[in-house]
């Protein structure tokens, strides 16, 4: 029980990874990484692995999947002196109770359509997500830009709903060659919005890594460096979204699917602040000048009054059409269907005409293959722009026009020394040219 409590306390700072071996010798591979929670597909027979892990400050959980005997799995985990179990997938309430009754730590990772917001949980998350990256267009046209598959919209929404650590457990697509840049994108896709991707290597990479092949070790070092980068700046997880555009969304229906309004805004690099309908207050809109209300019918009369006051004070409100609501996700569904995308287009057209060339916090240029996240420190004195590059090439000459006056800019990137960048005045704010973005870059402004 004590161990479980300790782990629960540590889960907020956990850096989880699915680990392909229960051989204590493989723990050496973690030396240069911040990974501190390992997930094993099954509890090992003895206690050697958990003891060796504990020496390194690493906790071990066993993954339990639907169909397994939960009570027996928990018993085996306890016998192997593991810190707990992660129930991954759809389980009955009685299964959850059985897991919890053993006194070990229990992480719940349901499929997206069964997402639960448990206020007492140290970790909230889902087992499934899209595999981040650029989706090839079925038929290209001169007008088309790349569509980025991302979980950031969903994860932003989830983060706005909970104070728990947010994990996402998507795994690499099968029968696909996964370059290391794709793993870096998966890590950053979650990390820039303050969530965690559970590191999961494909079979081939795992095999080569365990065999300590040079190329695999080199790629693994890049993965470790990126994880370290986000741990070195973990304070950003507590920073608030910076920007003047808020999106009010209900907590049911299709708001938890990827490819929705938040992802559309994010791929246009609009610094968006999700506001869950139950949390809509005047304070939640304190810095907003534009509000997109995706689910008007989810609001109480008091909350509708908050929005009325917002517009009376000069704010711009875009309401979804009356009766508009995305249907609840189906089992296995993680992205919007074509029909739902067409439905969301009704709102998107309005959003597009409302936005124009307005600077809602930052305007970014030459970022077609990237996703960005803009956060402000609690005291409002610092702002960080994080950029994730989903292309296979470094992107040169990215330009950012920030709303507001800043006097100092530092560019941070994994494995590179901080670099001071020049700032210059632009219409309504401050401009900065970022020479290059490899996998990830962060620009800290003061």
């Amino acid at each position: 029980m004590v161990l479980a409590l300790l782990l629960a306390l540590n889960l907020a700072d956990a850096v989880p990874a699915r680990w392909p071996s229960a051989d204590p010798k493989t723990l050496d591979l973690l030396a240069e990484t911040p990974i501190n929670v390992l997930l094993l597909e099954r509890a090992p027979a003895g206690t050697a692995f958990s003891e060796a892990s504990a020496v390194r400050g690493i906790s071990v959980l066993a993954v339990v999947r639907p169909g397994a005997d939960v009570a027996e799995a928990v018993r085996q985990a306890a016998a192997a002196k593991l810190a707990g179990v992660m129930l991954e997938g759809a389980f009955s309430a009685s299964a959850w109770d059985a897991a919890r009754s053993a006194g070990l730590a229990v992480v719940e990772l349901p499929p997206r359509h069964e997402l639960r917001l448990n206020p007492a949980a140290a970790v909230t998350g889902v087992a499934d997500g899209v595999w981040p990256g650029i989706r090839a267009q079925a038929k290209a046209a001169a007008t088309g830009g790349p569509w980025i598959e991302t979980n950031t919209g969903f994860l932003r929404y989830l983060r706005a709903n909970t104070t728990a650590a947010v994990w996402i457990g998507n795994v690499p697509p099968a029968n696909t060659v996964i370059p290391v840049t794709s793993y870096l994108a998966a890590i950053a896709d979650a990390a820039v919005v303050g969530a965690r991707w559970i590191v999961a290597l494909d079979e081939d990479f795992s095999r080569r890594l365990l065999a300590r092949e040079a190329a695999a070790l080199k790629d693994w070092a890049r993965i470790g460096a990126l994880l370290r980068f986000f741990e070195e700046h973990k304070k950003w997880r507590r920073w608030r979204p910076y920007g003047q555009l808020a999106v009010v969304q209900g907590t049911d229906g299709g708001t938890i699917l990827s490819g929705g309004i938040l992802d559309m805004l994010v791929t246009r690099h609009l610094p968006v602040r999700p506001v869950p309908a139950p949390k809509l207050t005047a304070e939640a809109l304190a810095e907003a000048r534009w509000v997109v209300n995706v689910d008007p019918e989810a609001l109480s009369p008091e909350q509708k009054e908050v929005l009325r006051n917002f517009t009376r004070a000069g704010g711009t409100l875009l309401n979804a059409p009356p009766g508009w609501k995305l249907p609840a996700p189906q089992p296995g569904q993680i992205t919007l269907s074509d029909k739902e995308l067409a439905q969301i287009d009704e709102i998107w057209r309005g959003v597009n005409s409302m936005i124009g060339r307005t600077n809602m916090g930052v305007r970014l240029f030459n970022v077609a293959g990237m996703i960005s996240s803009l956060l402000a420190s609690p005291d409002g004195k610092q702002v960080v722009l994080q950029l994730v590059n989903y292309t296979s090439y470094p992107v040169e000459s990215v330009t950012a026009h920030f709303l507001g006056k800043f006097t100092r800019a530092r560019l941070l990137a994994p494995g590179e020394p901080p670099r001071e960048l020049e700032l210059y005045p632009v219409e309504g704010g401050t401009g900065c040219d970022i020479p290059q973005v490899s996998a990830v870059a962060a620009l800290v402004l003061e």
């Binding site: 007008t143 077609a368 293959g369 296979s392 090439y393």
Partner: protein, 368 residues
């Protein structure tokens, strides 16, 4: 005499005489960084010097930034695939500034946008501040609509036009003393090759010639390309502008686009053609064309006559610039260069064009 009258007179005189011939320079340029300035400087010297062309003048430079800047080929920078490379523009501006140009205005009709060209360039990965500082008097204008002008300039096609008797264009194409086309050495899905002539297709404002142009008056916020009206004749251009000559337009883009390009080149003659063939693509004009591939010819081709320049560039690409429809690269289209020659804009006859620098044989880089 106004600039417009001077333009008209010059073009009419050209049309009446034999197609003119002008020298074309071919130079080796291995990269967009080291050594680009001396290469371009030598190219301009071989053409007779920039100073006599630009001193005290307003120069308008039409870039080639085709398709959305968000659309990259294999994720690579646009300048090494299908866009004019920013360093070419920067060095040209720098040299023109040194040569005494009074004003250098970069123009392009930005894909599906009426916003500032500067922002489009930023989206394309250009360092606009650096370009702005490359020479005194550098300006930018998106010519997809009125831009900074108060009215459209109506530029007439002298003599007998193929498709349109005149075009309503952004003021930049009239308010200039020198007009430069900086193109890319590449193929074109519709026209066979995209060179300094085809680059002019993009001077038509989408506000009038676009797929969401206003029916009567221009739409100053265009959000689409020009395929429906200019490529396929599926819709008319805004009624405020001169209409297509034929009452029953030919809908074949392989017929239409080359002729429209020649009409544009006649209405707005090019004084200096520069073709960026350092790094480019073969097989089409952009990533939306299947079978596109990266190539590195390592060449700059420039001349004072766009027809001659394009004829030489076409030969460098391994094609016969006098080839007719059905022969590569003009498999499904009429040959823009021959149509331009027939309109009296310049000769496509290689035997009449003096090639300076590298010979065509030395520079040859087959694109097919």
């Amino acid at each position: 005499m106004t600039r417009r009258e001077l333009l008209g007179l010059t073009a009419a005189l050209l049309a009446r005489s034999q197609p003119p011939a002008a020298p074309v320079v071919i130079a080796r340029a291995e990269s967009y960084t080291a050594g680009l300035e001396p290469v371009l400087s030598t190219v301009f010297d071989q053409l007779g010097g920039l100073e006599r062309l630009v001193r005290g003048k307003t120069v308008t430079i039409k870039l080639n930034l085709t398709g959305s800047p968000a659309l990259r080929f294999q994720g690579r920078p646009l300048g090494v695939t299908h866009y004019t490379h920013p360093n070419i523009a920067g060095v040209v501006a720098q040299l023109m500034g040194k040569a005494g140009a009074r004003r250098i205005r970069f123009v392009e009709s930005c894909w599906a946008s009426g916003g500032p060209l500067e922002e489009y360039l930023l989206d394309s990965g250009w360092n606009v501040r650096s370009l702005q500082n490359a020479a005194p008097g550098v300006e930018f204008e998106n010519t997809n609509n009125l831009g900074k002008g108060k009215r459209y300039s109506r530029l007439k096609v002298p003599g007998r036009a193929y498709m349109y008797p005149a075009f309503d264009l952004n003021h930049s194409y009239e308010d200039t003393d020198v007009f430069v086309s900086i193109a890319k050495l590449k193929n074109h899905d519709t026209c066979g090759v995209t060179l300094s002539l085809k680059n002019l297709f993009g001077i038509t404002p989408a506000s009038i010639y676009g797929d969401d142009a206003g029916e009567q008056e221009p739409n100053e916020n265009p959000t689409k390309g020009r395929a429906e009206s200019l490529h396929f004749a599926r819709r008319r251009v805004s009624r405020s502008a001169p209409q297509e000559i034929s009452a029953t337009p030919n809908p074949d883009p392989g017929y239409r686009v080359p002729r429209i390009v020649v009409d544009l080149a006649a209405a707005r003659p090019v004084d200096l053609a520069i073709i960026d063939g350092i790094e480019t693509v073969a097989g089409g004009e952009g990533p939306w064309v299947e079978g596109l591939r990266l190539v590195r010819p390592g060449l700059i081709i420039a001349g004072l006559n766009p027809v001659c320049t394009d004829a030489v560039a076409t030969a460098v690409m391994g094609y016969d610039p006098r080839a007719g429809r059905g022969t590569a690269p003009f498999r499904q289209c009429d040959n823009t260069i021959l149509l331009a020659e027939a309109a009296g804009l310049g000769t496509a006859d290689l035997s009449k064009i003096e090639v300076r620098g590298l010979t065509i044989e030395q520079a040859k880089y087959p694109f097919s």
